[in-house]
Subunit: 225 residues, 2 copies
DNA sequence: CTAACTCACATACGGACCGTATGTCAACTG
DNA sequence: CAGTTGACATACGGTCCGTATGTGAGTTAG
């Protein structure tokens, strides 16, 4: 067999692989353009030229500008998902892992190259589907983990599905709000994290639910205007 | 003087009044169009025709489509402001009045003919200025009232400006989130109100800060999925 | 091995739409 | 009453998008 055909051919690149590459190149180029210029300011002509193809190729892979945007949107969402997997694995405790993921989501999703796409343009371009997609990313996993935590007595006996909606809604609200303020000030971002921590405290069993995080946050308001 | 010229002439309508009328007509027509079709789907040709003028008149009053949108945006924001004044006056207690205003803001701003303009299209069209304008609507008044409440011992000794930012940010985050979900379900809306009430509880002095509202909300999650 | 077929992509076309530049006529002013 | 201002209409140029059609390389069947 010597240097026989590898299971993943590296060079030959049949027609299908080449097509997928151009689609990926278009998505990558579009992502950069959408992030810095915004959806409405991006010209498909310029975009295709920058990607080294014509608009014909673009319309072959994506129905229209909104379709291309949705592909970019899903790519960014998926990318955050894989990064969150790393965050989760780094924590030994499942409850700590879940909390770390929500905190990390705020930072990861609000990165300048992502915030505009996810939270500023997506609602206008995709409507309610935008938030639906973001909310349901890894939703099933969250529900499972919550059910486990509740079953093991780590959390109050809440409905896992409703609680997952609550947590996702809370973090999404903070993200939308901060994205609308150009990422927000450092104080605003830390306030969002503290508010999130307060929600987590509320989910734990009574001995842990002291609402200390919210108190600390409110007290800090007295000092730094 | 008999029937001399009234201070607000009802009929004659000089050139200035007529011009203002057409501008108002354009804003009113645009508001309806933006609310139902969304910014990007509105044609200025059709808009001007529906208002009974040409696009030349439109561009005489507004620089471009974004300028017209911003006029509509500010009109909606101002309209909510006057409605909130009524809500505030209906409450005898200043703290109750402030709380009622924030709760009312959620309902008033999320009305179907307003939510899309304020929270879905505005961030894409106007950028960060959108949230800036909404945040600063009546901001000075809120700060004054908070300072009074704190001085009279109704609230914890917090910085009024920072607290006003906190409250406005909280209600704006809830509104943005619900607007992204097509107004949200009834359960989501009541959850937003409950979360808001929890923040209010946290601002009151220790004897009142029992976080009961959040507890009630969390307990309710166990029953209705 | 070759001929037919498929498909990724390019080219060409028609049309909607926007912003500006220019024209016009009524209302105001000295 | 003549000059000026300003509100609005008309006309034009240009950008951009979506589709329809053409083409040539890659794939497959016989």
């Amino acid at each position: 067999m010597s240097t026989g055909p590898t299971p993943t051919p590296p060079r030959p690149q049949g027609r299908a692989e080449a097509a997928e590459l151009t689609a990926l190149r278009l998505v990558a180029t579009a992502r950069r353009a959408f992030a810095v210029q915004g959806f409405a300011q991006v010209s498909l002509d310029a975009l295709a030229a920058e990607a080294g193809v014509t608009r014909g190729a673009l319309h072959h892979h994506f129905q229209n500008q909104a379709g291309l945007f949705e592909a970019v949107f899903r790519a960014v969402d998926a990318e955050i998902g894989t990064e969150l997997d790393v965050v989760y694995e780094a924590q030994s405790d499942p409850w700590a892992g879940m909390k770390a993921c929500y905190h990390a989501y705020l930072d990861l999703a609000l990165r300048p190259d992502r915030a505009r796409i996810l939270f500023r343009d997506a609602p206008a371009v995709m409507g309610a589907r935008a938030m639906d997609i973001l909310m349901n990313s890894g939703f099933a996993t969250i529900v499972e983990d919550l059910a486990d935590l509740i079953a093991h007595g780590r959390l109050r006996p809440l409905d896992p599905v409703a609680t997952a909606h609550l947590l996702n809604g809370a973090v999404m609200a903070q993200a939308l709000w901060l994205a609308g303020c150009e990422g927000g000030t450092d104080a605003q971002r830390s306030a969002a994290h503290t508010a999130l921590e307060a929600v987590f405290d509320g989910l734990t069993l009574p001995p842990y639910a002291t609402q200390t995080a919210l108190d600390v946050f409110l007290d800090s308001l007295s000092e730094q205007p």
